[in-house]
Amino acid sequence: MESIPYEHGLILASILFSLGLIGVLTRRNIVFVLMSLEIMLNASGLAFIVAAARWGHAEGQIMFLMILTLAAAEVAVGLGLIIQMYRRFQTVDINVLSEMKG
């Protein structure tokens, strides 16, 4: 079996992470923002798996498991918040939520 360059796995994770970041920063629709966050979390999970594969350990997968749990909980709470927000403001535009300005 050919070996997969370790480096390339990490580069992939970085690219996915950066793309997610662009999404978080660019989109005004809060659902998109949440989705982009998922991408970023997933990218970090990928990095763990790549590292785990590099050393042949199982700990990386455990970390991925943790991230997965986190993502699940985060999505649940986040989506609940989105529903609340939509009920109050009738919009998914996060710029509406700017009352905490100085």
């Binding site: 070996s3 989109r27 498991l65 989105i82």
Partner: protein, 162 residues
């Protein structure tokens, strides 16, 4: 195997790009699922079948369905696509792209010089489980508490109040 890795990687990147530039939210979600599945393939290629399974089931399955439900509840129809288009001005992309680009450059700079092949060794469910319920049992407990908290919070937040 290595071809599969690059292929899945390319699909993941392209579909992710599609997610962040999409105006139709349902399409975006489908691209996201695609991206996640591609990553799951990569996991498998890297010798982590358990993770790949979870990725497919929990991420691409459960979480995305949750998203879908919410999108349905919010009833975001055709008008949101136009709204989405008006929100996505070209100017808005510049700063985030520069930032992300910088970050990426940093990452690449750090990774430069690491040259190590990965021999995918299969790390199956057993090894993971042994570790998970051995030294990392506390982490499992924490994860369960977190999920419980997420559950309660989501229920509480999404409840209709009159």
């Amino acid at each position: 195997m290595i071809t599969l890795f690059y292929l899945a990687g390319a699909i993941a990147i392209i579909s992710t790009v599609a997610v962040i530039v999409q105006t139709n939210i349902v399409h975006a979600l489908i691209y996201l699922i695609l991206s996640l599945l591609a990553v799951a393939v990569i996991f498998y290629v890297l010798g982590a079948p358990f993770a790949a399974m979870l990725e497919a089931i929990v991420y691409a399955g459960a979480i995305m369905v949750l998203f879908l439900f919410v999108i349905m509840m919010l009833n975001l129809g055709q008008h949101t696509i136009d709204q989405e288009r008006s929100w996505l001005s070209l100017r808005g992309w510049i700063a985030p792209t520069i930032m992300a680009g910088l970050l990426l450059t940093n990452f690449l700079y750090v990774m430069d010089g690491i040259d190590h092949g990965v021999e995918p060794t299969r790390v199956g469910v057993l090894e993971v489980s042994v570790l998970l319920f051995g030294p990392y049992v506390l982490a499992v407990e924490l994860a369960s508490i977190l999920l419980l908290a997420g559950l309660v919070a989501a229920y509480h937040l999404a409840k209709k109040r009159d």
